[in-house]
């Protein structure tokens, strides 16, 4: 009787345990930036472990690797990176941990069609690495990451493929909600400036372009003469709104506002806060809302001026 009971218990355990657990240990997938945490968690669900390479609360732009990062890196099976900017620290950590070439590195942007930073003072076409501050370019990256993970973890490939489709559909529906709000606005000549070149992919979703970028380079403060040129450009081109970074007040934005009277609105770079499965959705939703609100406001002001 006891034997039958034990056999039944073993069979029950085999039935309820997840497939991934049967075929060995779960993959430990490292990520470098917040959006990639959300992307990977939504692809793998509970079939793999997602590990941020660096802790919360650090600015990835000027991050210096810590001993704990190197230790963490040594436990990873694969690393997912942006690869074209923002996570240069990943290469340093891989080298320091002697893991370079020993674990696969998924370059999320390898197949993304890149666009230039628009509105630069000198008009030069510089590659824009902020592909994760958008829905469409993020979807492309989600497919790339998913495909690579399916190859590395074939036992869970079907699950990853289905999760990817669901997540992509969810993101697209979220974007459609906001596109719906501006569906009835007639072709509006909306002119905006941004604090840095981080929002071109987002604006492209709406068929918009940035008229002027204030920082001469990402993270570089403009000099007095550059600021004067930007103010002149904002006046000359009739810029209505400046989108600045959320939680990063800058004196020169106040100067621009005082000099030109242009409205100031906030967008998020999506690379701060806690690493959560829905942090990308929350961040991009806030950005879509800010942009749609600014468009509606610009339209209403034009209507008020016309009447």
């Amino acid at each position: 009787m006891i034997r039958i009971y034990l056999l039944a218990m073993v069979l029950l355990c085999m039935l309820v345990s997840p497939a991934g657990a049967d075929s060995g240990k779960r993959l430990r997938i490292g990520i470098t930036l917040h959006p990639y945490y959300s992307f990977v968690v939504n692809i793998v669900g509970d079939r793999a472990e997602v590990v941020p390479l660096i802790g919360e609360g650090f600015n990835p732009h000027n991050y210096r690797p810590q001993p704990a990062d190197i230790k963490r890196c040594m436990t990873l099976d694969v690393l997912v990176v942006n690869g074209i900017g923002h996570d240069e620290f990943a290469t340093e950590i891989l080298r320091a941990a002697n893991m370079e070439g020993r674990i696969p590195v998924i370059q999320s942007n390898k197949d993304v069609s890149l666009i230039p930073v628009s509105g630069t003072l000198d008009g030069k076409k510089i590659v824009n690495p902020h592909t994760f501050v958008s829905v469409t370019a993020s979807i492309q990256q989600i497919y790339t990451i998913s495909k690579e993970l399916q190859k590395l973890d074939p036992d869970n490939a079907q699950e990853y493929r289905e999760n990817t489709r669901k997540y992509v559909r969810k993101l697209r529906r979220m974007k459609a909600e906001y596109m719906q709000r501006v569906a009835d606005l007639p072709g509006l000549d909306f002119r905006c400036a941004t604090i840095h070149g981080g929002y071109d992919y987002l604006l492209q979703e709406f068929g918009l372009q940035v008229t002027a970028v204030i920082e001469p380079g990402h993270g570089l403060k403009p000099s007095a003469s550059q600021l004067a040129k930007t103010i002149e450009k904002i006046r000359k081109l009739g810029v209505e709104v400046v989108f600045t970074e959320m939680n990063f007040p800058d004196k020169y934005v106040d100067t621009i506002h005082a000099e030109t009277g242009v409205r100031i609105r906030h967008l998020s770079h999506l690379t701060s806060g806690a690493y959560t499965a829905d942090s990308f959705e929350k961040g991009i939703r806030a950005n879509l809302k800010a942009l749609v609100d600014a468009l509606i406001e610009a339209y209403q002001l034009r209507q008020g001026e016309a009447s």
């Binding site: 690869g83 666009i115 590659v127 569906a183």
Partner: protein
Amino acid sequence: MIMGRKLEDMHPVREEFVRPCNGGSETWWLIGCALLTLTICSLSIGVRKANVQSQSLHSWQLNAFRDLRAEERGTYSALYTAAIEIDDTHQNGDGEWLEVSDMEQDFVPPFVHDAAWRRQGKLVWQRKLLPAGTLDMALYLGEPQQKEISGSFLLVMQHSHGNGSGHAAPSTHPSHEIWYSPSPHPRLPASYTDQALITSGWKEVVPLRGRDEIMRTKGENVS
């Protein structure tokens, strides 16, 4: 005279030429080193530039990053991502190519009629299927209603069904290509080979991908 001897005889004068210790030669060495450093740097930059220039295009190709207008680039980027989804559905679904109306309902740009679609020339899309032997092809043609904003785009999806053994047979041809014509009503060739499209006035649009940028900036080849 000291004790009948001249001072010179007691201590003969010895002449020796002593160079002034004013750092003259060090200055020349420093200038030499600086020139050598500059020469090495200039040569290195030259070699690096040569790598970038190696990504040259054929006369029948356009670079999406450099050659398209911002509105057209928006359509191209969306179409490029949509192609991945169309291919994924074809490979992992029941072998069907997605309908334009399905993508419109699923909010897939550039097929959905949203604010971006209106700003980017209001392209009207149609799908054409071309089953031809072992190569399964679908064409998605988008013609603008506002020709001053955008030209026409043609997404060519193709899939090899080698030996009739399913959808995933390997092929040397890319699964999708995007072609551009400045005409709002471009001429479509009888067959959809590269040569036929080129002869009909189409140009293939080549993206600047993340892998190209990684190669340019880090010299790494991403597979």
